[in-house]
């Protein structure tokens, strides 16, 4: 029936629809709400940061693929775009353009290409880039002026002291009342718009929690991420923030809310900690990974030097991933005990 003969291969002879490219595209789509929110809050600055990040990621990725004599795939799969997008979203809005390029370059070179490119990297390249900038250009990476940066344990005290700031600026009359709680929730979900005369500081994509959650819902719906890592991560953050909360009872609710919904927590839980390449493969392993990353984040927030050590925490998780995968293994079907 065919001249060259039939095709013979080893089964299975059918295949699921998802491919790496489709998943990447899914992640990119899921980040669109966050991008829109970032543009709403930071206007042109957000566009600048994200565009520079994505474009430089694509160009540098192509260059490195060429130098390392790999197939140049930047235009056919979208992973350079995804890396650039995530990187852009976790940068402060007022970072200079050249620093973005340096970060992308360091991240892609040291975090990925020397290891052999997509799939071989033990650490998330976007985070490697972020950490390089954090340690390399600390002053440009400072987000301490942002409300969302106020998540250290002292921060909640500041919230309390600046009570009038919140009541006058945002109409939150009291922390205890239901109305106050709802308003607070809405503000933390939508983001704190700067008051007149103030400038908004913070990371481009981390202002609006709701946008991130919408993207996450999409990812869950498409089954691109499983619940293990987000639940482990948010669970770790939640448990630690309740367990080690030392302030007055009145402020517990705003405290937890801010720990969970602000800063990098949500992007981390849904978009970065879920990066398949650098995280465990088993459900239980993912849960352990998420919980560890969440707890290290909180340890750092409570007692460490950084305002938000979440990305460092995930890098620690990345480093531990091979060990987690070695220890947390599923039980094979029919394994006879005491073999």
């Amino acid at each position: 029936m065919k001249e060259e003969g039939f095709i013979v291969s080893v089964g299975p002879h059918v295949q699921g629809k998802e491919s790496i490219t489709s998943i990447m595209l899914g992640f990119i789509i899921a980040l669109i709400p966050a991008v829109i929110a970032s543009v709403y809050y930071f206007r042109i600055k957000a566009i600048e940061v994200i565009l520079i990040s994505v474009i430089s990621a694509v160009i540098i990725e192509a260059g490195l693929q060429k130098i390392m004599k790999r197939e140049v795939t930047v235009l056919t799969d979208y992973h350079a775009i995804l890396t650039g997008l995530i990187f852009g979203l976790i940068l402060p809005a007022n970072i200079p353009w050249w620093a973005i390029i340096i970060g992308v370059f360091t991240g892609l070179l040291v975090g990925k290409h020397v290891f052999g490119g997509l799939g071989s990297n033990p650490f998330n390249p976007a985070l490697v880039g972020w950490a390089s900038l954090k340690l390399g250009y600390m002053s440009h990476m400072d987000i301490s002026g942002s409300i969302l940066g106020v998540i250290r344990i002292e921060g909640i005290g500041a919230l309390a002291e600046d009570y009038s700031y919140f009541s006058e600026g945002y109409g939150i009359e009291s922390w205890g009342s239901l109305g106050g709680k709802i308003k607070l929730l809405i503000h933390t979900l939508l983001g704190w718009k700067p008051l007149p005369g103030e400038e908004l500081v913070g990371c481009v994509g981390q202002i609006c929690a709701l946008a991130i959650i919408i993207g996450a819902v999409y990812l869950f719906w498409k089954k691109y991420i499983s619940w293990h890592i987000p639940v482990g991560f948010l669970g770790g953050v939640l448990i630690f923030s309740i367990l080690f909360y030392k302030g007055e009872k009145e402020f517990l609710y705003p405290y937890i809310l801010i720990q969970l919904l602000s800063g990098g927590t949500l992007i981390a839980a849904f978009f970065v900690a879920t990066d398949p390449i650098t995280t465990p493969v088993t459900g239980a392993g993912m849960l352990v990974f998420g919980a560890m990353a969440g707890m290290i984040t909180m340890i750092g927030r409570l007692w460490g030097s950084w305002i938000d050590p979440v990305w460092f925490a995930i890098l620690v998780g990345n480093a531990l991933t091979p060990l987690i995968d070695k220890i947390v293994k599923p039980k094979p079907f029919g394994r006879v005990k005491s073999a």
């Binding site: 003969g5 039939f6 013979v8 291969s9």
Partner: protein, 269 residues
Amino acid sequence: MEVLRATIYPMLVMGGLAIFFAIGLGIAAKVFYVYVDPKVKEVEGLLPGANCGGCGYAGCADCAAAIVAGEAPVTACVASSEDVFVAIGEVLGKTVEVKEKEIAMIMCRGTADKAKRKFQYMGIEDCRAALLAGGGDKECQYGCLGLGTCVKNCPFDALSMGEDGLPKVDKDKCTGCGTCTRVCPRGIPKLVPVSLKIAVICSSHDTPPVVKKICEVGCQGCGLCKKACPEKAITIVDSLSVVDPSKCTLCGKCFEKCPTGAIQQLLPA
């Protein structure tokens, strides 16, 4: 006094420490004495360190131990040349008889256009893996599959995949380690003495009608060469012609008769 103390004290301290530890070590070395043959290390240093496993031991270190222990001959390493054996012999105080160097030869001429395929293979680019799908895509069940497993595994980079789909041996680089022979699922690369002058380049044990149908260049085992050879150097074993090089005079009668050109002269007469 002060000066004296400043020079004596360090000497006292260090001398004391040294005596203490030297005695300790000396006693320990006596009490806990374990013999290790230094020759093993020396021999290991002489071996190529490719850990190819051609000698049948788990790597060069293992082989060195076996050589020193007398379990393996000095010439056990298949990847080393004469001078290495002589050097090992020196270490062990043995004289060495050197056997002739062997290199690999690809015993198949069934290129893509000459040998038929059963089907299109789709899967892992590896000859051993290809056998798992329909038993290999070549009609000839003895022929080279051409996916280059031998090429990938040669520890000395002596093989390359030719344009015609058959591997090629770089005679200068090949050390005769035999890795290719072992990894090839069909045993196509064979080790032959470098001075081999004539050979039948085919591995097929199929009968004449079968070979005729599936391969233009295979040895059919038809026996025309055997009949033509005046020296009786040729026998047919299981449908494959075999030449005894010690009898062959390279008279060339067999080449004339072979219908497929499977029998080949390798060196000038």
